[in-house]
């Protein structure tokens, strides 16, 4: 099997466009997923019956349905409700929803590991619920939860490839269409694989450095 280098060089621009869209989707989904998870888990800390119920329903639906299904539901199903998302928007919404469920679980576990007295003391000092979370609880929770949440951030990079099935022009979309066109799967899927491995490797190194910055100097 001879690698057709000329073909690879010709198609590099397409892979660069794909790389751009993959990074775009991953970054947006990491940020929105994390912010959603922070808000929902913070709200569930207030131990309000209705908030807990709604939060659990949200968690339950998002953790028990496949990511691909959510993508199809938003892209193919939402038009019946009058909402016509573009492929990119459906990808972003679906991946955000899918991962926010897991992130909320991790954050809630983090909140459980912090003694309730911290929260009660903060409230006794006159801070409101959200101020207590922001100033007292969340910094501690984040440091404990970062390794586990980092795993899901890496997962988001891998899940962005699902968006290619609804014609978002990211790496795997071009890899697949070029493979079908030229019948040379090894070159194109190989490039896609190398790109994805580099992205996940970079992100996991960055997260490890961030974790290390939380440790006290000995």
């Amino acid at each position: 099997m001879i690698f057709n280098y000329r073909l690879i060089v010709e198609t590099i621009p397409l892979f660069l466009i794909g790389l751009y869209y993959t990074c775009l989707i991953s970054l947006v989904c990491i940020v929105t997923g994390f912010i959603t998870a922070v808000f929902i888990s913070g709200a569930m800390e207030a131990k309000n019956k209705w908030v807990l119920f709604l939060g659990n329903v949200y968690l339950s639906i998002n953790r028990n349905t496949p990511g691909l299904f959510k993508l199809y539901f938003i892209y193919f199903g939402a038009p019946a409700l009058g909402f016509f998302p573009s492929p990119l928007l459906s990808g972003i919404i679906a991946i955000t929803l899918h991962n926010s469920g897991y992130m909320i679980e991790i954050l809630r576990g983090g909140y459980l590991s912090i003694p309730r007295t911290q929260y009660e003391t903060a409230i006794a000092f006159g801070m409101g619920h959200w101020k207590a979370i922001r100033l007292v609880l969340f910094p501690q929770v984040f440091r404990n939860a970062l390794p586990a949440i980092g795993n899901y951030w890496i997962d988001i990079i891998k899940q962005s490839s699902l968006a290619s099935t609804v014609t978002v022009t990211e790496i795997l979309y071009y890899a697949k269409s070029l493979t079908s066109e030229y019948m040379r799967p090894i070159e194109f899927l190989g490039i896609a694989g190398i790109l994805y491995l580099s992205l996940t490797l970079l992100l996991s190194l960055a997260i490890r450095k961030w974790e290390a910055s939380f440790r006290y100097p000995r």
């Binding site: 099997m1 339950s60 639906i61 953790r63 028990n64 349905t65 496949p66 990511g67 691909l68 299904f69 199809y72 539901f73 193919f76 199903g77 939402a78 038009p79 019946a80 409700l81 891998k158 899940q159 962005s160 490839s161 699902l162 290619s164 099935t165 795997l172 890899a175 697949k176 493979t179 799967p185 090894i186 899927l189 896609a192 694989g193 994805y196 491995l197 996940t200 490797l201």
Partner: protein, 218 residues
């Protein structure tokens, strides 16, 4: 919103559920056996063996599952191996599952305290006798909860193989949508089915955990 479409197509959907469960069952069966084997080989193996297995895990966990499905689907025919869609779906799910499964097995074997090895050697056992009679029984019980989690994850991930042509629930649903141009009702039904399957597996897993915890506490 016309829910009668579900009545017209429910047999097709049930066939899809059958394929989903079939594919998931065999991937879980073969995958668990292989991960236990690979985990033991990793723990007991020499440096080169550990490097090879670590490389495999790194690649499988850094690449999107959809990419692996495409590689199996497009590259194997090049090498002369012609598999049916369902067989290649089971193969890709198994390959992906074995990566995380091996990590779990490795973790639970390494979690058994060194004192157990020392006690076994003091009784005159060889390394493999110690493994078979002392270490593995403890490791196998502690690895069941994470494995149950992974099983549910695999059930949801099995929806991705529909893109390579496996006629599972998601694939059949997409067929119906393309034929009838009505996405919402079908997708809602499929979502409910996936939700029920996932909740059933999770609940079953929790019950199994409880029974094993009871056994361990003796």
């Amino acid at each position: 919103m016309d829910f009668g479409i579900i009545a017209k197509n429910y047999i097709v959907l049930l066939k899809g559920v059958q394929v989903t469960l079939y594919v998931s069952f065999f991937s879980i069966l073969i995958g668990s056996l292989c991960s236990i084997l690979l985990g033991i080989v990793f723990v007991a193996g020499s440096r080169p063996v550990k490097t090879v297995i670590s490389a495999y895990i790194f690649v499988m966990r850094g690449l999107p599952f959809l990419l692996i499905v495409f590689v199996i689907f497009y590259v194997l025919p090049f090498l002369g191996i012609r598999l049916s869609a369902i067989a290649s779906g089971i193969l890709s799910l198994t390959l992906y599952f074995v990566a995380t499964g091996t990590e779990i097995v490795r973790g639970s074997i390494q979690a058994v305290s060194k004192g157990q090895y020392e006690a076994a050697y003091a009784l005159g056992m060889t390394y493999w006798e110690a493994m078979r009679w002392a270490i593995l029984p403890q490791a196998l019980i502690s690895m069941v909860p994470p494995f149950m989690n992974e099983f549910v994850y695999l059930l949801k991930g099995s929806s991705v193989v529909s893109i390579a042509g496996v006629p599972d629930l998601m694939g059949r649903g997409k067929e119906i949508i393309e034929r009838e141009f009505r996405g919402f009702e079908i997708l809602l039904t499929i979502g409910v089915i996936y939700y029920c399957l996932s909740v059933a597996f999770t609940y079953g897993g929790k019950r199994l955990e409880k029974r094993l915890a009871f056994k361990m506490s003796r």
